[in-house]
C-alpha cells in the first residue's frame, strides 16, 4: 500500500497540472478557437481583397497586416485557452512549458524552429507580402507569410513554400524591401568599336520613353569594357513591381531596335561568357 502511494504521487502531481475536466469550459474553448480561426480566415481573405482595391501605395501596408493579425489571434487564443485547461500557477506553467519544450526540442525541432523564425520574421521583416525575394536561387513574389513557411509565387506561376528557418542560415535577397520600387536591369552587349556616349544617350531615352517606367526614380546607364566587347547595364524602376519582366522585355525590344537603327553592332554569339 505504501509503495502504491509513492508510485501514485507523481501521477497525482501531474494530474494537478490540469484543472478538473468538469470545470473546464469546453464551450468557451471551442468558441475561442472558432473566433481565432474566423479572424485569421477573414483577415486572409478580406485584407488582400481590400489591398487590390486601395491605391497602390497602400497595398503593401495592408498586406503586411495579414500575418500580424494572425499572430495576434493565435497569441490571444493561446493566452485565453491555457488558464481554462491548466491551473495557472507558476509551478504548473513551468512544468507544462518545460514538457512541451522538451517534446518540441526532440521531435519537432525544425518545425519549432520554423515557427520561431516566423515570429522573428514578423518582427525583423526580412520579407513582407508583396515583396520580391530570392532564397536559395528561387525568385518570386511573397504571396503569404504562414506560421511555418513563406509562400512565394515565381515568375512561371509556381508556388514555392520556403520554411522560415532558412532565415537563420541562408541569405535572403529582397529586391524591394517593403517599398514600392524595384530595380530592373536590362543588359546590352555591343561590339567594342563604337561611340559609347551615343549608346548611353540612346539607352537613356529608351528607358525614359517606356510606359512602364517610374519617372520619379533615376535612370542609370553603366558601361563596362570587357574582352569580348562593351557591356551596358540599363538600371531603372517600373511603376508596378509585378510588371518587371514585361518592363525588361520592353526595354530590351526597344533598346535593340534603337541601337540597330543607330548602326551599332551587337557582340556575336559565343563571344559573351554566360552571365550569372
Amino acid at each position: 500500500m505504501g509503495d502504491e502511494e509513492t508510485i501514485d504521487e507523481p501521477v497525482k502531481d501531474m494530474g494537478r497540472l490540469f484543472q478538473d475536466f468538469s470545470q473546464v469550459h469546453v464551450v468557451q474553448i471551442i468558441l475561442i478557437v472558432i473566433v481565432a480561426v474566423l479572424v485569421i480566415r477573414v483577415s486572409q481573405n478580406l485584407l488582400p481583397w481590400l489591398a487590390d482595391r486601395l491605391p497602390t501605395r497602400w497595398r503593401q501596408p495592408t498586406l503586411v497586416l495579414v500575418p500580424i493579425l494572425r499572430l495576434i489571434a493565435i497569441a490571444l487564443g493561446f493566452i485565453l485557452i491555457v488558464p481554462r485547461v491548466v491551473d495557472p500557477t507558476f509551478e504548473n506553467l513551468i512544468t507544462l512549458f518545460g514538457a512541451v519544450g522538451l517534446a518540441l526540442g526532440f521531435a519537432f525541432k525544425d518545425y519549432a524552429s520554423s515557427l520561431i523564425a516566423g515570429i522573428v520574421a514578423l518582427y525583423e521583416m526580412p520579407y513582407r507580402p508583396g515583396d520580391w525575394i530570392e532564397v536559395d536561387g528561387t525568385y518570386g513574389e511573397v504571396a503569404n507569410i504562414g506560421a511555418r513557411t513563406v509562400d512565394i509565387v515565381t515568375p512561371d506561376d509556381t508556388v514555392v513554400f520556403i520554411p522560415h528557418l532558412k532565415l537563420w542560415t541562408n541569405l535572403i535577397h529582397n529586391a524591394n524591401n517593403g517599398g514600392p520600387n524595384l530595380m530592373c536591369v536590362a543588359e546590352f552587349f555591343l561590339d567594342a568599336r563604337h561611340d559609347a556616349a551615343t549608346v548611353k544617350r540612346i539607352l537613356y531615352d529608351v528607358a525614359l520613353t517606356s510606359p512602364f517606367l517610374q519617372l520619379q526614380q533615376p535612370i542609370v546607364v553603366i558601361v563596362t569594357e570587357k574582352p569580348w566587347g562593351t557591356h551596358y547595364l540599363l538600371r531603372t524602376y517600373p511603376i508596378e513591381r509585378r510588371d518587371q519582366f514585361q518592363f525588361l522585355t520592353d526595354l530590351t525590344v526597344r533598346g535593340k531596335d534603337a541601337l540597330r537603327k543607330g548602326g551599332f553592332e551587337f557582340t556575336r554569339a559565343g563571344l559573351v561568357p554566360e552571365m550569372n
Binding site: R53, D205, V206, T209, P211, Q214, L215, R254
Partner: protein, 393 residues
C-alpha cells in the same frame, strides 16, 4: 505656377462625396443610388440647342483679357533689353483649361506670329527646317502647343530638345510657349529647365464660377434665369434682387463644383451643363415674382447625384498606358498610340471603344482621342493612385 492652388470644398460636401465614392469603390461597382426626391426623378436634361442658351460655351475672350493684362509689361520691354532668362515665357495649363484658345486668341489680338504646330512626320524626322524662326525678328512669337512637338518614344524627343535648346538660349528671340501641364511634367525629365518664367491660368473659385455661369441669366430669350438646386429648391447663383426673397441664401454648389473641377474652367463648365435639368415634356418653369417679373427656373442637380464617368471595375495596366499617353500628348490618334505603346492594335482599339462607351474618352474630328472633360477627374485620380506621373494642377 507655384502660386496655383486648387479650391477647397465645404467640409460636409467633401465628407458626403468622399464616403459615397468609397462605398461605391468597395462594392466594386458603379451602381448609382436613386434620388429619393420625386421632383428630382421627374426632371429631364435640356436639349442641346436650349442648353446652349441657358449655359453657353465658355467665352475665352475673358481669359485673353486677363492674360493680356498680365503679360503687357513683358511685351513692352525692348527685345535688346531683355535678359536671356526673360525672353521666353511659358503658359502652363491643364487639359480643358482653355490654354490653347487663350494663347491663340491673344496672338491674334496682338498680331503676333504663331509658330505652326509640327505634324507627326516632322517630329519623327526632327526636321530642322521647323526650327527656323517665323517672320519678324523684333516681335515676339507664340507657340501654343509645345505638347505637340514630341512623342514619348526614343525617336520622338530630338525635335523638342533642339527647340528648347535654341529657345532658352535666346537664339529664337522672345516668345510665349503654351504647354499642357501633363506634357510639362514629363518635359522636366527630358530637358532640365533652369527656372523658366512660367505663368498658369488661375484656378476658378465659387465667385468666379458665379460670374461665368450667372452671366447667362439674360440669355434665355431675354428672360432672366434663376438656377435652383433640385433637392432643396434654394438658389445656386444669387439672382438679381428683384427676383429673390429677402434674406435668401444660396447653396454651396458652386464651391463644391470649383473644388471638384480643380478650378478648371472647361471641366467646371462641362459638369455645370451636365447638372442642368428642366421639367419634362417641354414645359418650362416660368414663374412670376410678387412684382410680376417673369423668369425661367433651371434646376441644378447636386454634384453627389451626378453620374460622372467612371468605368465599371478597376481599369487594368493597358488602360492606364493609353490614358497616360493621351494625357502626356494632349490627345493622340490611333496610329500614334500604336507606335508609342507596346500594345497590339486590336487591344488598343477595343480599349478605346470601351473607354469611349464609359464616357472617359472622346474622339475629335481629326481622329484624335482625348480624355473627356467630365472623365478627366476620374482619370487623373486613377493615374495618381497607380503611381504614374501626374501634373501639378
Amino acid at each position: 505656377m507655384a502660386e496655383f492652388s486648387v479650391p477647397s470644398a465645404s467640409l460636409v460636401e467633401t465628407q458626403k462625396t468622399g464616403l459615397t465614392r468609397w462605398w461605391k469603390k468597395l462594392r466594386g461597382g458603379s451602381q448609382r443610388e436613386e434620388s429619393t426626391l420625386v421632383a428630382e426623378r421627374d426632371l429631364v436634361a435640356w436639349p442641346e440647342d436650349r442648353l446652349d442658351q441657358v449655359a453657353p460655351p465658355v467665352d475665352w475672350s475673358l481669359a485673353v483679357d486677363a492674360f493680356d493684362e498680365r503679360i503687357a509689361q513683358w511685351l513692352d520691354v525692348d527685345v535688346e533689353d531683355s535678359k536671356i532668362s526673360q525672353k521666353i515665357v511659358f503658359l502652363i495649363g491643364p487639359p480643358h483649361s482653355g490654354r490653347n484658345q487663350t494663347l491663340t486668341g491673344w496672338a491674334e489680338r496682338r498680331e503676333l506670329s504663331i509658330w505652326p504646330t509640327p505634324d507627326p512626320e516632322t517630329v519623327w524626322r526632327a526636321d530642322s527646317a521647323w526650327l527656323e524662326r517665323p517672320q519678324d525678328n523684333q516681335r515676339p512669337w507664340v507657340l501654343p502647343e509645345l505638347q505637340r512637338c514630341f512623342f514619348r518614344h526614343a525617336d520622338g524627343l530630338t525635335l523638342v530638345r533642339g527647340f528648347l535648346d535654341m529657345a532658352l538660349s535666346g537664339k529664337l528671340g522672345r516668345g510665349v510657349i503654351g504647354c499642357d501641364s501633363w506634357a510639362w511634367a514629363y518635359l522636366q525629365h527630358i530637358w532640365h529647365f533652369r527656372q523658366p518664367a512660367t505663368l498658369s491660368l488661375a484656378a476658378l473659385d465659387a465667385a468666379d464660377l458665379a460670374v461665368l455661369f450667372g452671366d447667362s441669366q439674360a440669355r434665355d430669350n431675354g428672360q432672366p434665369i434663376v438656377f435652383k438646386q433640385s433637392d432643396s429648391g434654394r438658389c445656386v447663383i444669387a439672382p438679381p434682387s428683384d427676383l429673390s426673397s429677402a434674406g435668401e441664401s444660396c447653396t454651396d454648389y458652386l464651391k463644391s463644383l470649383a473644388a471638384t473641377s480643380r478650378g478648371n474652367v472647361g471641366i467646371a463648365s462641362a459638369i455645370w451643363r451636365m447638372s442642368l435639368r428642366r421639367s419634362p415634356e417641354g414645359k418650362v418653369d416660368e414663374e412670376k415674382t410678387a412684382n410680376r417679373r417673369e423668369f425661367t427656373s433651371v434646376w441644378v442637380r447636386p454634384l453627389r447625384d451626378l453620374e460622372l464617368p467612371e468605368p465599371p471595375g478597376k481599369p487594368n495596366r493597358d488602360v492606364a498606358f493609353i490614358l497616360h499617353a493621351l494625357l502626356l500628348h494632349d490627345g493622340l490618334s490611333f496610329d500614334l498610340l500604336e507606335q508609342l505603346l507596346p500594345l497590339s492594335p486590336s487591344r488598343i482599339s477595343e480599349t478605346l471603344v470601351q473607354l469611349e462607351s464609359d464616357r472617359l474618352l472622346q474622339q475629335s474630328d481629326e481622329d484624335t482621342w482625348r480624355v473627356s472633360p467630365t472623365g478627366y477627374l476620374y482619370v487623373r485620380e486613377f493615374l495618381h493612385q497607380q503611381g504614374y506621373l501626374v501634373d501639378s494642377f
